[in-house]
Amino acid sequence: MKADIAFGQYYEGNSFLHRLDPRWKILFSIFYIVVIFLAKNVFAFALLVLSAILLIAVSRIPLRMILRGLKPLIFIIAFTAIINIFWLKGKTVLVDWWIIHIYLEGIINALLIVVRVVILVAGTSVLLTYTTTPLALTDGLERLLSPLAKIRLPVHEFSMMMTIALRFIPTLVEETEKIMNAQKARGADFSTGSLARRAKALIPILIPLFISAFRRAEELATAMECRCYTGGKGRTRMNILHSTWRDPAMCLALCALCAGVVLLNYFAPGYTLAM
């Protein structure tokens, strides 16, 4: 049961990626996503695959973990692949039967799209979620957004809310499990009957869950006030984020990747993505 809570899925480690500054890492992830979408040419895609393999190798996160993260996406990946195979028109006809026309281009296109989605998810999760604690992540985000505080956006409050939300996900999951067990012990049945019946069967879970969430919120607010929390103004930090040589190095590597992808897009021969 605890194994199901993969949210945030930080993987303890001390690799190059783990030690990057979270502020930079957020920017790197955005940059990486942009580069992934820039790639059009098959060779550019090959370069991307290489970069993703390199990222995974550097992070020292077991492949098994990454594959597990991809599992929920199987349906979406299969869906886009199938749409591409059947709808894309090209020059080389492979199958021409009744209303089904499959072209070689369609298949290549489908493959490239699948590669794109896989790299998108695997790459960014290795770069960000697997190697950054949720706390460091929100901290980095707060720092990145801090200029917005100048135009009176409550950046600190926003990031505090995010931290608290992340912190309480496992707690609420555990609580839901407890309440479900308690109601099951009284003969509640969540898995049979019509949709309406099943929806109704959720009431005995949702009401106690909401009540306890409100109770927790109140307790947390009191506890924070007892420790003199008054918001972000004038608050200093225990852990100050430091940028090291690793961040410019990573930045350089990504720029090189971007340049490589753009160059290959223009000059390399071979198939180019249709959408």
Binding site: M1, K2, A3, E175, K178, I179, N181, A182, Q183, K184, A185, R186, G187, A188, D189, I203, P204, I207, P208, I211, S212
Partner: protein
Amino acid sequence: MAEITLENVTYVYGKGAPYEMRALDDVSLTFRPGEVTGLIGHTGSGKSTLVQMLNGLLKPDSGRVLLDGKDIWADPKKIQEIRFRVGLVMQYPEYQLFDETVESDIGFGPKNMGMEPEKIKQAVARAAQFAGLSPELLSKSPFDLSGGQKRRAALAGVMAMEPDVLVLDEPAAGLDPGGRREILSRIREYQQESGANVIIVSHSMEDMALYCDRVLVMENGKLVMSGTPAEVFSRAEELIAVGLDVPQITRVARALREVGVDIGLDIYTVKFAAQRLLSGKGKV
């Protein structure tokens, strides 16, 4: 009546993961009807896991759970019938209250059993009386009750199903001493009147000593001791070795023996200690 037997039950959390934990390790034991059995062990010893085995909330990885000699997992579709026969009151049960009135909340279990509305009413009234809830509270919202009343309402919610086996996980946790005594003696009364098989999980050695006929001690997913309170509490060194304690009065008896007043080591209630002392057994 209902006898529950565990046969070589093993249960592992997070199988295959780095944090794999053997919560129950080849446990075999029997809970007999007509008894109050106490289950003690410190946090993480496997008590709560064991308790969830009894009504089929968890399924053993290996081994069997037998209710009156029949495997409760023989037909997984009928597990609900087992849950009606083996009532489980979870830790802090007041957090499971949800309905508009106390009465309908207590009636949730019987309703799930498919009882007639008239019968539900009777069952609720009986259960409320057992749990010590006054009738005028039944029409209130469960969220308007005090902490102790909520606990009793939740307890009544399970009692109303009139289970043959009543399992309670820390029924008195977080209550004041008066509330503890009240709720535990209500449970004891329920057992005596219904002849049910009652199993109580607790941290409190005093409560175990006072209310149980038999005490089981768990450590690291294994059953390490079982016997009457006198038998178990006379083995104080072993209990302390597994991170548990003995009732205060047992410690007093041990200290008395060290200064030369021997009233025996099988002392576990104050009353009993007083009897021994008065009978002149402790003469120096």
